[in-house]
Amino acid sequence: MPNTVSDREVDRLMRDLETEAEAGGYHLNPDREFTRGLVRGLLANRERYGYISCPCRLASGDREDDLDMICPCDYRDPDLADYGACYCALYVTADVESGKRAAAPVPERRPPPAERNRQKEERATAGRAPGTLNYPVWRCRVCGYLCARNEPPETCPICRVSRDRFERFM
């Protein structure tokens, strides 16, 4: 990993992520040393790609292609539900955090490129469907937050991801 990330930066991002996680009902992995390593990876990715893509996935460097795996990734919540941890294990469920249950290894849920492209086209088509609603409904692909307004919010008020993580829901 590029060695230009300072300990201070790691501490700061870790603190911010922890505050945000707890405020939103999420939990960081209590294994501090392991979690620090992941946070260092996020910062390394921010430095080389310009965004904090998942440290445990190979990024293409194209934001549009990597959008679904920018942390928190589109797969975090379903993986928390099924395995008690997200794919890289930065986030864990409350019972894993408190040691009541061990996290299970998380298989990769992210579809291969061909399938991702197919899904992207499907979403684009859904977005163009004629509606009978007064407002379009937008869904946050990370946390599922729904809102009816002309455009999705700049930042998801629930999980803090950026506008481009929203999809047209209705």
């Binding site: 992941l38 260092r40 990876g41 440290p55 445990c56 190979l58 890289c88 290894p105 291969p112």
Partner: protein, 95 residues
């Protein structure tokens, strides 16, 4: 590609990411087991070399996820599956 010297248990290849905690654990495990192995951080490669290695990983693991361990070009272990790795390397000597 880097080589870590150790006991010969066949050709052990670890495909990893430099930022991934599970890849780091896998590398630690192989090192602790004292087995000779090679590893490559795919995220640190660029251009044609990276494309070539990605295709190589894809051949063993179509999802191209990490860590991927390939033993003797036959046995493939995807993810940090400690017991499977220990077993595949025949490392019963460790606790």
């Amino acid at each position: 590609m880097q080589h870590v010297p150790g006991v010969d248990r066949g050709r052990v290849m670890l495909y990893a990411l430099s930022t991934c905690g599970w890849c780091a654990r896998t590398k630690e495990l192989l090192t602790d087991l004292g087995v000779g192995f090679s590893y490559v951080y795919v995220d640190l490669l660029a251009g044609e070399e990276r494309d070539r290695v990605v295709r190589e990983v894809e051949r063993w693991n179509p999802q191209v996820s990490f860590p991927t361990v390939v033993i003797d070009e036959t046995k493939v272990i995807v993810g940090f599956r400690e017991e499977e790795i220990r077993e595949a390397i025949g490392a019963q000597h460790s606790e």
